[in-house]
């Protein structure tokens, strides 16, 4: 379990992390989601003592990370897969960690096998690794000490779709065995596939947290039907307002309501499900004032962008 309480970090006048509190529960994968520069990495570095917090505290499994005698055996950490000596081989990097933690060299082979890095790949220097291979190596390094808690910063970054699927399976399995997983990402679709809980951060403050399904309750229903026009007319007449989305329609109602209307008219549904993009809309909306991207109203005028 990771418990973050009122964590704050300032750089001069800039508050990078502002009174952040949340809990990552055991047996769950908690997604830590936010745009670039929202304070995710700073928060994670504070958890493991690499950045000193100005105020607030973090406990991992009830302990201050700095007070854990051999932290690698209890908490697996991956903060930046690229932060490795480019001239070392993958195997050597794992071997150094194993030696520091007091683990036998055989553990290195187990970890390489676990993350599907082959014998010959492990003997290559990290300089020649793709980002995806570095992520696998970083995850191997984090899992080396058989920890109860995993803290992973952008672990899916650079993984191909098969790699993301593999990682999802790995982390789910890990959480199912009682482990605590906290992983960060700036990409919603990456996180929502893996995470049981979401913590959204924007400009240093927590803007929302909870289960993805709970956060999505008001996003509406997406549907497609054979007798599309007939269904739209029926929904409109019962006070709903369907809007065209992609090749179907979205309406602010739950699936059951739409289904009942369709059934009463004998309409053949092709698709009926909670609307996509609800979480993404929520994410963008909640972090809107923290985004760098502005869409200037008069981009062609000399007035410039309105932030």
């Amino acid at each position: 379990m990771i418990k973050v309480e009122n964590l704050t970090k300032r750089y001069g006048g800039f508050t990078a992390v502002d009174d952040v509190s949340f809990v990552a529960e055991p047996g769950r994968v908690t997604g830590f989601l936010g745009p670039n520069g929202a304070g995710k990495s700073t928060t994670m570095r504070m958890m493991v003592g690499l950045t000193r917090a100005d105020s607030g505290r973090v406990t991992i499994g009830g302990h201050d990370y700095l007070k854990i005698p051999n932290p690698g055996r209890h908490v697996g950490v991956l903060l930046d897969a690229s932060a490795q000596h480019a001239g070392r081989t993958g195997r050597e990097i794992l071997a150094l960690s194993a030696a520091t933690m007091g683990l036998p060299e055989s553990r290195v082979d187990e970890m390489l096998h676990l993350v599907s890095l082959t014998e010959s790949e492990s003997k290559r220097r990290v300089r020649n690794y793709s980002l995806g291979m570095r992520q696998r190596l970083g995850i191997a390094n984090a899992l080396m000490g058989d920890p109860q808690v995993l803290i992973l910063d952008e672990p899916a970054n650079g993984l191909d779709p098969a790699g993301i699927r593999w990682m999802r399976g790995l982390l789910k399995g890990y959480a199912d065995r009682g482990g605590t997983v906290l992983l960060s990402s700036h990409l919603l679709h990456e996180v929502e596939q893996v995470a049981d809980e979401l913590v959204m951060i924007g400009r240093g403050t927590i803007v929302a947290q909870g289960k993805p399904s709970e956060m999505l309750t008001n996003s509406g229903t997406f549907f497609r039907a054979v007798e599309q026009d007939q269904l739209i007319a029926a929904l409109t007449s019962s006070g709903m307002a369907p809007v065209a989305v992609a090749d179907g329609f979205r309406v602010d109602a739950d699936s059951l309501q739409v289904g009942k209307v369709a059934a009463s008219l004998g309409i053949t549904m092709i698709e009926l499900r909670p609307a996509d993009g609800g979480l993404e809309d929520l994410f963008l909306e909640l972090t809107a004032d923290t985004q760098r991207e502005a869409y200037p109203a008069g981009a062609t005028t000399t007035e410039g962008a309105q932030a």
Partner: protein, 258 residues
């Protein structure tokens, strides 16, 4: 895997043992040998030491004694060992491996101590190599009095001079946390000091109290070292090694590792 009576989510760390210092020193030594850059630096120290001695043996007209060989070795080693010591510290920042190293051992002072011990061991190892080379070449050279002036205290003084060089590099590495800056500073600072000494002749005697490279070179003098000379080495060590090391240590304590 006995969870015992722990509440869910709590971690039992009663059996957790922090990495021993011996293990950490071994890891630091390994970090210096497992990259091409580090390995070549170590090989260069060994090869150049052997080469310099061999060349002197072949081309010198004199019959060289043991001490001459030892002093030949000290030249390349005095230059390269401090570079090794700099890299031992700064590679954690330059290559950002500190992110892993300091996560595994959050007590940063222990990491610094382990690195300091590793640097010291490298210097001692290099010195032992120099001793062996000198011992092998001395009978070949066939000097009349090959073991002239060889004494325990003298051999220790030479080791001390080499250690001062290595720790000087280490201190600059720790204070600057950047390989290029630290190596340049290590070579530029003594140069500037000796230029000042050369120009400002009136203050030459006094400047010896600051000029560690000159005062520590007096340790190579086989005749005895005076109390004043020892004191000059002492102040030099204080200014150029202890002070930057303290600054560096505080810097590392406070630094954000990213």
């Amino acid at each position: 895997m006995s969870a015992g009576t722990l509440e869910p989510g709590m971690i039992d760390i009663s059996a957790s043992k922090r990495p021993t210092m011996a293990r950490m020193v071994a890891v630091e030594i390994r970090k210096m040998t497992d990259t091409r850059a580090g390995l070549w630096l170590l090989l260069a120290i060994a090869i150049i030491t052997v080469a310099v001695n061999t060349l002197f043996l072949i081309f010198s007209n004199d019959d060289l004694p043991f001490l001459a060989f030892l002093q030949f070795s000290a030249m390349p080693q005095g230059i390269l060992l401090p570079v090794l010591a700099v890299l031992l510290v700064t590679q954690e920042w330059g290559q950002r491996t500190g992110l892993v190293s300091f996560a595994l051992v959050p007590d940063r002072s222990r990491v610094i101590v382990a690195k300091l011990a590793a640097a010291t061991l490298f210097v001692i190892a290099a010195y032992l190599v120099a001793l062996v080379i000198a011992a092998v070449l001395t009978p070949i050279a066939g000097a009349d009095d090959p073991w002239e002036d060889v004494s325990g205290p003298y051999l220790l003084r030479v080791l001390l001079a080499l250690l001062i060089g290595g720790l000087w590099g280490f201190a600059f590495g720790l204070a600057l946390l950047n390989s290029a800056f630290a190596i340049v500073a290590y070579f530029a600072v003594p140069m500037v000091v000796s230029i000042v000494t050369a120009i400002w002749t009136a203050a030459q005697d006094k400047l010896l109290w600051f000029d560690l490279s000159t005062s520590s070179s007096q340790l190579f003098d086989p005749s005895s070292v005076s109390g004043e000379q020892w004191a000059q080495v002492g102040t030099g060590v204080l200014i150029w090694i202890v002070l930057p090391m303290v600054i560096g240590w505080m810097r590392v304590q406070k630094a954000e590792i990213k």
